[in-house]
Subunit: 211 residues, 2 copies
């Protein structure tokens, strides 16, 4: 499960994050999962960085949210991350690991704790309120403050998306790059099987089917 | 299949479109589908308006794109549309109808033709090139121009998303609104069954699980 080797798409993504960093929404992306009855589900989440020096993408969520139900059923997700300043799209497909309060691995719990403290105290408050997704008719928040030194509450869950495939599209240059791994410890050298082409770093003009 | 009654969420969405219209990317949203082996898939597409006076959302796509394969397998999709200026998110779930060149209904073919001519001549060129999603190493575009009066090419496909559920979130006001239909001709009066609440127009403070 380790993915310490830096993937070739990672620098590309870091460049995009950097070029768009003046825009608050540049850290937001859409996460698609599959829910009950094979129903597609899609919502905006926030990029919380890479896990240490790995290729794994960190997302914070609430254990009571419906995406957790989805991921327990099927742990795969596809991120669609569109950078509005540079007109770049990253589609990132992979398996998602959930690290919640019930995790038995002390190292995983440490990662969860680090993610908790990396967020603002204000952002931690959302995990203290009533169940997410359920409307509260009580206008008063149930908690106005939280001890800044207190560790993660039960509802706090760290998600780690471990990318298997990355599909990059640049709408200014018409470049497309596909990266995929054969799942031998995240070695991003295997061509995309759907297209049967060797695409590790290939740059080419492509039609733009989506935008 | 008709959906002529204006849904209560539609005016909300039209307001958001209007408030964000100075931003080119405000017409872009992410469309999640379910592909082979139940794999979630997510990509940016462009809003092409509502179909006439209905609640159906129009999207243009290429018949050769992978989203068509997905939708042939499972015709359901969820749009996630985040408005970066007003901090609003619309999650729109529904069934997608595909109208391609092989459609036998003359009215549907007329809708497809109208969608074709509504796009710029330049935008039509993308349907003339090689298969989308497949890298072309040929730097020269195969077609430099297209007769502006020529009707839709074979690859042009109109998608119509007919919303069943709309989940609206305003990150500035902390408002959330859920709309859903019991599928009796798009009458948006039935509460969201997951939450077992009557939510047709309810406004309330909610925790914000995602952002």
């Amino acid at each position: 499960m380790s993915s310490s080797a830096t993937a070739p798409w990672k620098q590309l993504l870091l460049n995009s994050i950097n070029s768009n960093s003046h825009l608050k929404h540049s850290t937001y992306f859409q996460l698609a999962t599959v829910g009950y009855n094979g129903r597609p589900s899609n919502r905006t989440v926030v990029f919380r960085g890479f896990q240490d020096s790995t290729n794994k993408i960190q997302i914070n969520t609430d254990s009571r949210s419906s995406k957790i139900d989805d991921l327990k059923r099927s742990p795969f997700a596809e991120v669609c991350w569109y950078f509005t300043e540079t007109w770049e799209q990253f589609r990132i497909y992979g398996k998602v690991e959930m690290i919640d309060a019930s995790n038995s691995d002390p190292n995983k719990l440490k990662q969860r704790e680090a993610a908790w403290f990396a967020g603002s105290v204000r952002s931690r408050l959302q995990y203290v309120g009533p169940t997410p997704g359920i409307i509260s008719l009580n206008e008063q928040p149930s908690h106005d403050s939280l001890d800044p030194s207190a560790g993660p509450v039960d509802a706090f869950c760290l998600l780690l998306l471990d990318p298997d495939q990355v599909d990059y599209l640049n709408l200014k240059s018409n470049e497309r790059l596909l990266f995929s791994t054969g799942r031998s410890d995240n070695d991003f050298t295997v061509p995309d099987e759907r297209n049967q082409l060797n695409l590790k770093h290939m740059r080419a003009k492509v039609p733009l089917p989506n935008l």
